[in-house]
C-alpha cells in the first residue's frame, strides 16, 4: 500500500495540525510515513504545502514525484490549484470553497471553483460555513480533514484517537470542538458522494 497526499493552504491556516493528526493515525495503524513541511519565512501568510507519504513498505523520497500524488487536500481554493501537476490522472482534489484573500490579484472565486470542478475527481466543501456550525470559524482545517478522511487509507478510529491526542493539551472543550468539526466535514463529504 502506498498513498501520497499534498496538504495545501496559506501559512497560519493549520495544515501542520492536519499533518500531525494524519502522521499519528498512520503510526497507530503501523504504517510508515514521511511528511515534508514548511517552516520559516513562507509561514508568514504565504502559500504553504506539505507532502505526506504513507506506505506499508519503505519510503525513499520526502517529496512526492509529479504524477504520484493521490490526493490534494486544500484548505483554500486558490491553493488547491497550485500543485495540480503532482496529481496522478485518477487523483482527487478535496478543496475548501472559502477563499483567503491576502493578495491584490486574487482571482474571482467562481473561476477558481470552476477550475476545480474540471478535475475529474473533486469535492468542494464550504469549510467556513461548516466550521461555524461546529462552533468556530477557526476549525476549517479539521472540517477539511474530516471531508478528506473518506479518501485516506486510515481507519476512522485511528484518526479520531490522533485528533483527541493532538488537541487534548488545549482542554476538553477544544477537543470536542474539533471532533465536531471533523464529524461535520465527514458528513458533508458523504452527503455529496452519496454514501450512507
Amino acid at each position: 500500500m502506498k498513498f501520497d497526499l499534498i496538504l495545501a493552504g496559506v501559512g497560519g491556516q493549520g495544515i501542520l495540525s492536519i499533518a500531525f493528526v494524519i502522521d499519528r493515525a498512520a503510526l497507530l495503524q503501523g504504517l510508515n510515513f514521511k511528511q515534508a513541511e514548511v517552516h520559516g519565512m513562507a509561514q508568514r501568510g504565504g502559500a504553504v504545502q506539505s507532502h505526506l507519504r504513507l506506505s506499508d513498505g519503505p519510503i525513499y523520497s520526502d517529496l512526492i514525484p509529479k504524477g504520484k500524488c493521490d490526493l490534494i487536500l486544500a484548505v483554500e481554493p486558490l491553493e488547491a490549484l497550485r500543485y495540480l501537476d503532482y496529481l496522478q490522472p485518477e487523483g482527487t482534489v478535496v478543496s475548501s470553497s472559502s477563499p483567503y484573500v491576502n493578495i491584490p490579484d486574487y482571482p474571482p472565486i467562481a473561476d477558481l471553483l470552476d477550475s476545480i470542478r474540471e478535475i475529474k475527481n473533486h469535492l468542494i466543501i464550504n469549510a467556513d460555513q461548516i466550521a461555524r456550525k461546529a462552533g468556530s470559524g477557526r476549525v476549517q482545517n479539521i472540517v477539511m480533514l474530516g471531508a478528506a478522511s473518506l479518501f485516506l487509507p486510515l481507519e476512522l478510529d485511528h484518526l479520531l484517537s490522533a485528533l483527541k491526542e493532538f488537541f487534548q493539551p488545549r482542554g476538553q472543550k477544544i477537543v470536542d470542538l474539533n471532533l465536531k468539526a471533523f464529524e461535520l466535514g465527514r458528513q458533508e463529504a458523504r452527503l455529496q458522494l452519496k454514501i450512507n
Binding site: H39, G45, L63, P65, I119
Partner: protein
C-alpha cells in the same frame, strides 16, 4: 526502544542526547532551529545545558569551551550561520576536540528561507574535518551518535550536514539505548593555544590525520556500493537525500546501474575508484553545489569516462533537487499526470501579519521620508525584510545579519544623506553592536532605527537578548548621545508624532538611534493562549 516520531532536526537532537551530550548552543535560523528547540524542551528533564546564543560565533566558542572541559558539545546553525562562526570553526580543527564536538549545519537549497544556498561540505573540506551527510531520519540519529565517538577518537570536530528537506521532514525512527555523559580530562594547553609555534605543529597534526579520516570514510557502513557487473555501463554516485531520489525511481529502471551512495566525507576514494573501474558513464546526484562532481572531474576529467551531473547540465545547478529532476537525468519518461492550469496561478508571497508593529514603523518611515526622496534605507534580516514588498516598499537592501548599520555608515562616510539603517532587536544583538560602536565613536551622520518586537519573530519566536530596557542601556553604553537616542511606540495613532521625530533626527548632523518598540503580535497571541 519505542518508535519515535521526529523531524530530521529532532532526530539529530535525540542522537546527541543519547550520545551523552553535556551542552548545546545555537542561534536560530531556518532550517536548523528545531534542533535547539528540541534540545531545550528535553534539557529541562534531562539536565544538560541547551541554550540560544547571541550569535553563531559565540555559540561555537561556547561549544569549544565545553569540549576543552572534556565534555560532549553540540552546536547547530543554518548554513549562513557558519559564515559568522567560520573563524572559531576553522581554528577548531587546529585546537582539535577534546570532548566530542559536533557541528550541525543545515543548508537551504532553493533558498526557502535564506539569502543564498551555499553548501557546507566545502567548509568541512576547508577545515579538513570529517562530515556526515544523512539521507534519512534514522541515519541522522545514528550518525549524530557516531559523530561524538568519532570526534573523540580522532580528536577533531565533526560536521553533520543537513538540508531543508530532511531537516523539516517528519518520520519515525528507532532509537537505541542511550549512553551516559562522561568526562574526559581537560584540553592540553599546547594544543589549544594557537601561537604560531603551536599552530604550525597542530596544523601538521591535522594534515597527518587526513589519511585516517579517509580510511574511516572508506570503511563507514553508511557508504554503500552495489556493483551491477558488466550488465550496465552506467554508474550512479548519489549523496544524502539525493540518493533517495535515485531509489525512488529505481524500480522503473530497466537495466540496473552500479550505485554508490556517499554519506561521509572526506570522499571515500577507494569506493569511487571501484565504481569507476566498472562503468563508462557516471551520473553524480547531490543536493547543493556539484561538490562530488567537481572533485571527480578535476580539471582534466577522467580519460574514457563520461561524468554527468550538474556541471554537464543533466541536473540543475541551482535550487533543490526533486525526484522528477533525477528521473529525467536517468532517462526515464515523465509519469502521467494532470496538466498544470493553462493560466498562471497568482503567487502568494509571505507578508507581514495584520497589525505587525514593523508595518507601522514602515508607514511612519515612509511618511517621514516624503521630504527626502533620495533617502537610502539599508535594512537587515528578519520579518521586517518583508517591508520590501508593497504596500511598504520601504527598504533598499538586505545582505547579511548586521550589514544594515555598516552599510549605512559606509554610505554616510562618502556623503550620502539621509542614510538610514533598519535592524531588528535580535539581529542587533547578533551583529549590530560592533558597527554601532564605530558609528558612535565617529558620530557619523546617519539614523539607525532598531525594531524591538521583543523576539526573534522570523524563525518562530525564540528569545532575543537585545530587547527592552537592556537594549536601551546597551545602545547608551556604546556611546550614543542620550539626546539622540529616541524611543517611539509604532502604533497608528502615533503616526504623525513619530514621523516628526524621525525627520528631526534625520536633520541632526550626527548619529541618531531610534528604538521602535512594540511586541510582535504573534508572540502576544502565544502568551495570551498560554494564559487561557
Amino acid at each position: 526502544m519505542e518508535k519515535f516520531v521526529a523531524l530530521g532536526d529532532e532526530a539529530v537532537a535525540l542522537g546527541a542526547i543519547h550520545a551523552g551530550l553535556a551542552a548545546a548552543y545555537s542561534y536560530p535560523g531556518t532550517p536548523a532551529s528545531e534542533v535547539m528547540e528540541f534540545l531545550i524542551r528535553a534539557s529541562q528533564e534531562k539536565g544538560f545545558v541547551a541554550r540560544w546564543s547571541v550569535n553563531e560565533k559565540v555559540a561555537l566558542e561556547q561549544a569549544l569551551g565545553v569540549s576543552f572541559a572534556g565534555k560532549r558539545a553540540l552546536v547547530s546553525m543554518k548554513h549562513v550561520g557558519l559564515n559568522v562562526a567560520a573563524d572559531p570553526f576553522i581554528n577548531s580543527s587546529l585546537t582539535g576536540a577534546n570532548g566530542g564536538l559536533v557541528v550541525v549545519v543545515a543548508d537551504d537549497p532553493s533558498m526557502h528561507s535564506s539569502q543564498n544556498e551555499q553548501d557546507s561540505r566545502f567548509y568541512a573540506q576547508f577545515a579538513q574535518i570529517f562530515c556526515f551527510e544523512p539521507s534519512s531520519h534514522q541515519e541522522a540519529y545514528e550518525m549524530t551518535r557516531q559523530a561524538f565517538d568519532l570526534s573523540e577518537a580522532v580528536g577533531l570536530p565533526v560536521m553533520i550536514r543537513l538540508v531543508t528537506r530532511l531537516a523539516h521532514s517528519r518520520s519515525s525512527i528507532f532509537p537505541r539505548e542511550p549512553v551516559s555523559p562522561k568526562s574526559l580530562p581537560t584540553g592540553e594547553r599546547s594544543h589549544w593555544t594557537l601561537l604560531p609555534i603551536n599552530a604550525r605543529r597542530r596544523f601538521q597534526v591535522v594534515l597527518n590525520k587526513q589519511e585516517e579520516l579517509r580510511r574511516l570514510s572508506e570503511e563507514s557502513p553508511f557508504n554503500q556500493l552495489k556493483l551491477a557487473g558488466r550488465s550496465s555501463p552506467l554508474g550512479i554516485i548519489a549523496s544524502g537525500i539525493a540518493a533517495n531520489y535515485v531509489l525512488e525511481n529505481w524500480p522503473d529502471l530497466e537495466s540496473k546501474p552500479s550505485f554508490l551512495k556517499i554519506s561521509t566525507y572526506p570522499l571515500p576514494e577507494k569506493l569511487i575508484r571501484k565504481l569507476m573501474d566498472e562503468v563508462d558513464t557516471v551520473l553524480v546526484v547531490e543536493e547543493g553545489y556539484p561538490f562530488i562532481e567537481r572533485n571527480l572531474r578535476g580539471l582534466m576529467g577522467i580519460p574514457g569516462k563520461r561524468i554527468r551531473g550538474k556541471l554537464s547540465g543533466d541536473l540543475p545547478l541551482s535550487g533543490e533537487l526533486s525526484p522528477d529532476h533525477v528521473r529525467q537525468a536517468l532517462g526515464l519518461k515523465a509519469l502521467a499526470r494532470l496538466p498544470k492550469l493553462s493560466s498562471p496561478i497568482a503567487s502568494r508571497p509571505p507578508q507581514l501579519c495584520q497589525g505587525c508593529p514593523h508595518a507601522d514603523t514602515f508607514l511612519v518611515l515612509k511618511e517621514a521620508l516624503k521630504d527626502f526622496p533620495q533617502a537610502m534605507v539599508f535594512s537587515d534580516i528578519g520579518c521586517y525584510t518583508l517591508g520590501y514588498f508593497p504596500p511598504y516598499s520601504a527598504i533598499d537592501t538586505c545582505v547579511c545579519m548586521g550589514a544594515s548599520i555598516g552599510m549605512a555608515k559606509g554610505a554616510a562616510d562618502v556623503g550620502y544623506h539621509p542614510s538610514i539603517a533598519v535592524i531588528g532587536d535580535s539581529t542587533f544583538g547578533h551583529s549590530g553592536l560592533t558597527p554601532l560602536l564605530e558609528a558612535a565613536r565617529t558620530n557619523t551622520k546617519m539614523t539607525v532605527i532598531i525594531l524591538d518586537n521583543g523576539t526573534v519573530a522570523m524563525t518562530g519566536g525564540q528569545m532575543s537578548y537585545a530587547s527592552g530596557e537592556y537594549l536601551v542601556k546597551m545602545v547608551e553604553g556604546l556611546g550614543v548621545n542620550r539626546e539622540h537616542l529616541r524611543l517611539i511606540e509604532p502604533l497608528p495613532r502615533n503616526l504623525e508624532a513619530n514621523a516628526a521625530l524621525i525627520k528631526e533626527e534625520i536633520n541632526y548632523p550626527g548619529l541618531s538611534v531610534i528604538i521602535a518598540s512594540r511586541e510582535c503580535i504573534q508572540e502576544a497571541r502565544k502568551k495570551k493562549r498560554g494564559q487561557e
